[in-house]
């Protein structure tokens, strides 16, 4: 007659723990592993031109809106046209190898295929201009672009992350003249004052973003 060896009793005794642990493991993996915080944050594709925001926005201190000039009046912040690059690079670093793609584009009229970093699902409609008008600064969503050699995604850009701010906007609101200030420190007290002054109440309706 077959008897289970005595050590199998350990399995019996720990089975509950194993199953429970397994479930917990799956739950943790799914929750954190599939979270946009894991999958999306830190996405840093290689761009066709080794453009450095750290130099342009950081060292040189060029305002964001010099290149992303539609951001205050349109939904898209718009990648600048090649002609914008050539405003300066027609005169400086005219022979740089790194800028070959830019010069080619300018001469041929073909677009530079910049790789999209911040990408929302197509059923989510985000508008830059209205956020700027409300006093949400660039760095609130994009992070310290002025420190990035190559741009990467700083925030998860998930719906929960959006709603965090829509539900609790105070810390993220700043005066209109500080929108592009990369060194801005969040100030919830000032934010609350600005919100009240300007009558801003972020919407949490589905149709605000989904149409």
């Amino acid at each position: 007659m077959f008897h289970f060896p005595s050590w199998t009793l350990t399995i019996r005794d720990t089975a509950g723990l194993l199953v429970g642990g397994g479930l917990l493991y799956v739950a943790i993996i799914v929750t954190f592993g599939f979270s946009p915080k894991t999958t999306d944050v830190g996405y840093q594709p290689t761009q066709p031109v080794p453009f450095s925001h750290a130099i342009h926005a950081g060292e040189l201190g060029i305002d964001c809106r010099y290149c992303h000039n539609t951001v205050e009046r349109a939904g898209h912040a718009a990648i600048p046209a090649t002609a914008t690059c050539m405003n300066c690079h027609g005169m400086i670093h005219t022979e740089s190898e790194k800028l070959e793609v830019v010069r080619d584009s300018y001469e041929s009229g073909e677009s530079i295929p910049w790789v999209r970093v911040h990408d929302l699902p197509d059923y989510a409609y985000f508008n830059h201009s209205v956020h700027l008008a409300a006093g949400v600064g660039c760095s609130s969503c994009h992070g310290r672009i002025d420190h990035m050699e190559t741009v990467f995604q700083k925030e998860p850009l998930s719906m929960g992350w959006c709603l965090d701010c829509h539900r609790n906007p105070e810390p993220h609101i700043r005066p209109a003249d500080q929108i592009t200030n990369m060194n801005w420190e969040n100030d919830a007290e000032l934010g609350a004052k600005l919100l009240a002054e300007r009558g801003i109440a972020p919407s949490q309706n589905c149709s605000t973003c989904h149409r």
Partner: protein
């Protein structure tokens, strides 16, 4: 029958309570609606392409997408921000002024040009659907020679050789066949053609022409003048087979003017009447505020559906009715001046016999017109013979309307011969071997030329036949050469609007398939080289208006027109018009025997003459009266079908003048007895994968009515024989789709008792005056009256559609003024009005009979205290218990969006349906799916008939989501995919929807649509990039298994809110946000705005005495209020 006793029905099946109807009613969707069989047969191959990478881009981070900016961004071009450009579309020689919305260089939406008085922002269904046509993958992509593909260079070389050979002969043997055009640029190119190749011939043909009108003017005035009606000044309008609000080229403008005069408030809802003066509601004068429309016609047109009085007469009898009208006017003392000839004798015969309906109609009309001399209009339709038109000119002159409500301008091209004559001469010349080369510019004569001419065999005698068109259509397939034509949205050109003003055609996009426009081709033949198209257009402008400076030209391009260039009214001198006399035999009223029936061929309101046959939006658009999609049918009145022993869906053979056509019968209420109407434009065999293509094996949609034509396409002819074949044919009609449910229908029908029967006495427990309960026994007459009153009052349809006469409405307002009378008048207006006054005992019985009755009426709220939601918990319901809700009321701090739809103004033109489809990326599903009740239109127009099926009255009711406060859909969604926004919208979150369809099941209005298939993706694969271009990027493209519905164009709301916020957080102005349906409504029947703003037009409309909610008793409290239809019948004319 008075209006308030109306029983409304949507179809004859419903009227007869047939088994089919009951089944349709019982089921949420028709049987088999959720099965997948028949997928392969479906014709949604052409339905627009795959969703814009929805699946791939949604969550998958690692798929690399690129952003490709301009190397140099054009001025005023902001990525993602739409630009608007003005252009125009020419149909039948008349321009429709348009404004196009273009996203990133991609035109996506057509709207009317607000600057132009002929549009005022409204656009026809044809123009709006041009977007789908532009991106149609079936469009011709390259030249062909004998069916074999050729390059553009080869074609142009061949064209050059042809031109050179004819240039040597001064153009002899060269002929052009164009559509009727009044483009000054083409006229200028033609002039140059004439000077270089003087012997070349130019023919213009249009199957749906208005030649009768032009010939009639020639007859009356000796020259072709164009007649304009100023309906804003017309108090009385009489249309004789004239569809002024439908197929008339000036219909958009006339509909606006007409509708303004259909509101008893006199214009808007803001207390200002149509003349801009303050409106005095206490002193309503129906005679001057509302117009009155009389229509005499054979088939039900848009105009007929809006009429106060409509007399269905066979088209051949319409002239007799006009002659009778003239005789009646003369009898009233109007004298026909010498210059106009002698008056028409009154027609004899039973039709206009002493006690006949036609006689009464004509007399009442004559009386009314006589009283309104100088402020009335008599109009005759384009397909009536010229003598009838001449007579109408004379009657307008007699009534003193000329120069006031009836204006004349010169026709732009006085020398043009009629289409009928033109095509006949061309065929004659081809048969006489006089034509060596025929260039067909954007036409399809093989399909739409009268079959009696046998255009095909004549074309066979032509050595070089060249077809230039949008599609490789029937004609292209028999021509030697074919080349693609540039779409009007890809071309430079110009055209003249109906008022004669100069309109610009400018390209929105470079030709997708390297086509050339008709203007360029004409100019090529004139000069031998391809010229700059903009310069050609400008040459036309110079010829028409004189040289414009660059700045003026830029302004014209910006405005889409040169303002102030409308034709100047002329006063043509009359000629003697011979009197029309009709003998009794000609106009006998009785139904003619089979074989002597009348056939009326008319242009289809959806696909026109067939040129839009491959446009899926238009094919699937339910025809406004029959609610047919994807088909035409032989329309006959119920009396005619009874006499012939056929019914809707039966196949029959129509035979006239030796020509036959097998088609399907449709029993059409309101069609004149003995008249059979069949729409042209169907049965295409060379349209494409949508409309039918014999080469690809796609069966034709509908039946080719041109097969029955002998010398002209439209008009009427007698001698029709109808014989049943013994087969049936499935018709995809939406009249009985989206019905209200059984409970409602039972309630609606109540328990009707037959007054001629006797019933056992019934005893009720009644509370007497002393508070004691006593038993009261009711005997038959009282019982019948009480039950029938309850049945009427419980009528649920009265909760859906309401209409009253002007005098009833006046009485109602008087009752309101006298506060105590309000309740009774409300009752009268909406329920048991017209009923005998009940005795005390009757009244008790009445109470007993509907102890639980909830004859919901909402005129209680809204009156005198602003917008609806004053005290949401206490919606006043007169005569019923207070409505209580289990749900906590929503509260609103900001906007409360609302809509009002005025049934008095709506003419049912369908423009809003196409606007909605275009704006919201709504898919087309194909005939088989429509048969299953799966059509996707978010906005439908419910068409209700009432009264005698031979001459019913019509109410049109556009129904989209009414955005209930306590929305039944929200309460049952298990995943919160439909939720209430804090601005009162029922938001639809497509990405949350899991497709349970509970919401649709629970929707009492049936406005939700389910994606049974991935309609936007071609199941068979393939490259759908072209069709993708037609999508509105502001609206999500829904995938399979998702429920969708109207959201008040929430993307437009958000866009304006963002603009206002960015613009220093200014408040949104009333009227700033317009929904797509509202924007294009020619009748201005739809208003949208903020109910929180008491001064908004929509608040005022909601506060109107006419305002009511759908299915009020359900306590769903919709945000869309309807305004009851008020008609203005002639008191003299009590219709049977």
């Amino acid at each position: 029958m008075t209006d308030s006793q109306i029983k409304y029905w949507r179809s004859l099946d419903e009227l007869a309570q047939s088994e089919d109807f009951k089944q349709a009613l019982d089921r949420e969707f028709p049987e088999g609606a959720d099965s997948v069989e028949g997928v392969d047969r479906r014709r949604f191959l052409q339905v627009m392409g795959a969703s814009v990478g929805l699946a791939s881009a949604s969550s998958c981070r690692w798929e690399k997408t690129t952003l490709e900016p301009f190397a140099e961004r054009p001025e005023n071009r902001v990525p993602g921000v739409p630009n608007h450009y003005a252009t125009s579309m020419e149909i039948g020689g008349v321009a429709e002024p348009l404004v196009l919305t273009s996203y990133d260089g991609r035109p996506v939406k057509v709207e009317g040009n607000e600057l132009h008085p002929e549009s005022l922002g409204a656009a026809s269904t044809f123009a709006q659907a041009a977007i789908l046509e532009l991106y149609d993958p079936d469009r011709s992509t390259n030249p062909t020679e004998g069916g074999a593909a050729r390059t553009t260079e080869q074609f142009e070389a061949a064209l050059g050789a042809v031109r050179a050979s004819h240039a040597a002969k001064r153009g002899a043997g060269l002929a052009f066949l164009s559509r009727v055009t009044n483009s000054p640029a083409i006229a200028e190119a033609q002039r140059r053609l004439k000077s270089d190749l003087p012997q070349a011939e130019w023919f213009e043909y249009e199957a749906l022409q208005r030649d009768g009108e032009i010939e009639g003017a020639r007859m009356a005035f000796g020259r072709p003048v164009r007649t304009h009606f100023d309906l804003s000044k017309a108090n009385r309008i009489a249309c004789f087979d004239a569809d002024l609000l439908g197929d008339h080229p000036g219909s958009t403008r006339m509909t606006r003017a007409f509708s303004l005069r259909r509101r008893p408030e006199g214009g808007s809802y803001d207390g200002v009447n149509f003349e801009g003066a303050e409106f005095d509601s206490a002193n309503l004068d129906g005679a001057t505020v509302m117009n009155r429309l009389y229509v005499v016609e054979a088939r039900h047109t848009t105009t007929g559906a809006s009429a106060d009085h409509r007399l269905p007469l066979r088209a051949e009898q319409v002239g007799a009715a006009l002659a009778a009208l003239e005789a009646a006017l003369v009898a009233k003392g109007l004298a026909v001046p010498e210059a106009w000839g002698s008056a028409s004798p009154a027609p004899t015969g039973t039709l206009f016999g002493q006690d006949s309906r036609a006689r009464a109609f004509v007399n009442a009309l004559a009386d009314d017109l006589y009283r309104h001399r100088g402020t009335c209009v008599v109009a005759v339709g384009g397909t009536q013979p010229r003598g009838v038109h001449a007579l109408a000119h004379r009657i307008n002159a007699l009534l003193g309307n000329v120069g006031k409500t009836v204006l004349y301008t010169d026709e732009p091209n006085a020398e043009r011969t009629s289409s009928e004559e033109s095509i006949e001469t061309l065929v004659e010349h081809m048969n006489g071997n006089q034509i060596e080369t025929l260039v067909v510019l954007d036409g399809n004569p093989i399909y739409d030329a009268p079959k009696g001419l046998d255009f095909g065999s004549a074309l066979g005698r032509v050595k070089n036949s060249i077809h230039i068109g949008l599609y490789r259509n029937e004609t292209a397939r028999v021509c030697g050469w074919h080349a693609p034509l540039a779409h009007f949205l890809e071309s430079w050109g110009d055209a003249l609007a109906w008022d004669g003003s100069y309109c610009v055609v400018q390209p929105l996009i470079r030709p997708i398939f390297a086509g050339r426009s008709a203007l360029e081709v004409t100019s090529f033949f004139a000069t031998g080289s391809w010229s700059d198209a903009q310069e050609l257009a400008r040459a036309g402008c110079t010829a028409r208006l004189g040289a414009l400076s660059d700045k003026q030209w830029q302004l014209a391009l910006h405005d889409g027109m040169a303002s102030g260039t409308a034709s100047v009214p002329v006063t043509p001198a009359p000629q003697r018009v011979s009197a029309l006399s009709y003998s009794g035999a000609q106009v006998d009223a009785a139904m003619p025997a089979n074989g002597a029936l009348e056939l009326v061929l008319y242009g289809d309101p959806c696909v026109h003459d067939g040129r839009f046959g491959n446009n899926a939006w238009l094919q699937e658009l339910p025809e406004f009266m029959t609610k047919l999609t994807w088909d035409n049918a032989a329309l006959m009145s119920p009396a005619t079908t009874d006499a012939l022993g056929v019914t809707t869906g039966d196949m029959v053979t129509l035979t006239i003048s030796g020509r036959t056509l097998d088609t399907v019968v449709y029993a059409m209420p309101g069609q004149a007895a003995g008249s059979v109407a069949l729409a042209l434009g169907y049965g295409r065999t060379g349209a494409g994968a949508v409309g039918g293509d014999s080469e690809k094996g796609v069966p034709a949609a509908g039946f080719d009515a041109y097969a029955l034509t002998s010398s002209r396409a439209t008009g009427h002819e007698t001698g029709l024989t109808v014989s049943a074949i013994g087969r049936t044919y499935p018709l995809a009609m939406t009249a009985d789709h989206h019905l209200i449910d059984t409970t409602g229908m039972n309630e609606r029908d109540g328990e009707w008792l037959d007054p001629s029967q006797s019933y056992p006495d019934k005893t009720f427990e009644m509370e007497g005056a002393d508070g004691e309960m006593t038993a009261v026994a009711l005997t038959t007459p009282t019982l019948v009256r009480a039950y029938n009153k309850k049945a009427r009052e419980g009528s649920r349809v009265a909760e859906l559609v309401r209409s009253a006469t002007h005098s009833e409405f006046e009485g109602y307002l008087e009752g309101v003024a006298d506060d105590g009378g309000r309740e009774s008048v409300v009752d009268k207006l909406h329920a048991g009005h017209g009923e005998d006054v009940l005795t005390t005992q009757d009244a008790h019985a009445d109470d007993a009979a509907h102890a639980e009755d909830e004859h919901g009426d909402d005129h209680g709220d809204g009156h005198g205290h602003g917008p609806h939601y004053v005290d949401p918990n206490k919606i006043k319901r007169i005569g019923g218990p207070e409505l209580l809700s289990l749900w906590e009321r929503h509260s609103y701090d900001g906007h409360r969006w609302g809509m009002s739809i005025d049934l008095s103004s709506c003419v049912g033109c369908n423009a809003c349906v196409v606007a909605c489809q275009s704006e919201n990326n709504i898919p087309v599903v194909g005939k088989e799916q429509v048969l299953r009740g799966r059509e996707m239109h978010w906005l439908r127009i419910d068409r209700y008939f009432s009264g005698d099926p031979e001459s019913p009255k019509v109410v049109n009711q556009p129904v989209g989501c009414i955005q209930c406060e306590d929305a039944p859909c929200e309460q049952v969604c298990p995943v919160a995919a439909t939720v209430h926004s804090d601005e009162g919208l029922n938001d639809m979150v497509y990405n949350r929807c899991i497709g349970t369809r509970y919401c649709s099941n629970n929707c009492p209005i049936k406005v939700r649509r389910f994606n049974y298939f991935n309609y936007h993706r071609d199941l068979k694969g393939g490259d759908r990039d072209l069709e993708k271009m037609s999508f509105n990027p502001e609206v999500t493209v829904r995938a399979r298994g998702v429920m969708e519905k109207c959201t008040y164009c929430v993307q437009r709301i958000q866009a304006k809110k963002i603009v206002a916020k960015v613009d220093d957080r200014r408040p949104i102005r009333d009227g700033e946000i317009v929904t797509a349906c509202q924007q294009t409504c020619p009748a201005d029947a739809i208003r949208f705005g903020d109910l929180a703003d008491e001064s908004s037009v929509v608040s005022k409309a909601h506060a109107s005495e006419r305002s009511y909610d759908l299915l009020k008793f359900l306590n769903i409290r919709p945000r869309t209020a309807y305004l009851a239809r008020i008609t203005n019948p002639n008191p003299l004319l009590v219709e049977a």
